[in-house]
Amino acid sequence: MMLGLTAGRFGTRFLGRRVMALVTPSSATMASHGHGHADVSEIADMSKPMYCDRMDTPLPDRAYKDELNAADKTLKEKEKGPWNQLTKEEKIALYRLMFRKTYPEMKQKTDEWKTVMGGIFIFLGLTGLLVWWQSIYVYPAQPRTFDSEWQAKQIQRMLDMRVNPVEGLASKWDYEKGQWK
């Protein structure tokens, strides 16, 4: 949800300031300080009730628009009376004062999954390269028990011992013919 907040509400301006602070030398950061002050007013006060567009929260903690202009205020006064005197447009306007998105708008599918899957595959690929490098330069020598001759002798010994003769290994070996069944 935090990701949704930064991306949706404060978007590029917030991120832009962060990126600038990382990339540019300190004098430029000082110069952009005026810009930073303008940003501060955009940041939400998290100690107060907040609005959210969530499918599982039909009634958020506060209405969407809390700074009403004169027209909105008269509409809100009219809302206090009988509702069948409101026109369709007024009802929609009241809805839009209360809420930012309708449920169908909230449910609209996005292409976010493509970004997510792309990121997953990129990181899996990078990890794969790392693991490959590691297997060449970091791993110690293989124990002798991994050699194919050793493994063959091991299986022969297991067959001699009749390991799991009912349903397992030795049951798959034909002892008369000396081969796998």
């Binding site: 369709k88 010994r157 001699d160 011992m161 009749r162 003769p165 349903e167």
Partner: protein
């Protein structure tokens, strides 16, 4: 502006009444299948068939010749 009022109550109860019998039925079917067809009966049969033709002495001698025992060496030595 004249949509029918949607059902507001009893939603969990309705879901349970629908899904629980199905869940129980499927579990019982899975259990019966596991017991009768896939795991227990075939395994019992495999063991029965194995021991029908099992000659313990013959197997012991074969194992002895292969040289895996420490208490009895192959008859050649």
């Amino acid at each position: 502006m004249s949509l029918p009022k949607p059902v507001m109550r009893g939603l969990l109860g309705r879901r349970l009444r629908f899904h629980l019998p199905i869940a129980f039925a499927l579990s019982i079917v899975a259990g019966a299948a596991l017991k009768g067809y896939t795991v227990t009966e075939p395994r019992k049969q495999a063991y029965a068939d194995f021991y029908k033709q099992y000659d313990a002495v013959k197997e012991f001698n074969a194992m002895r010749e292969a040289g895996i025992f420490e208490s009895v060496r192959p008859s050649g030595e």
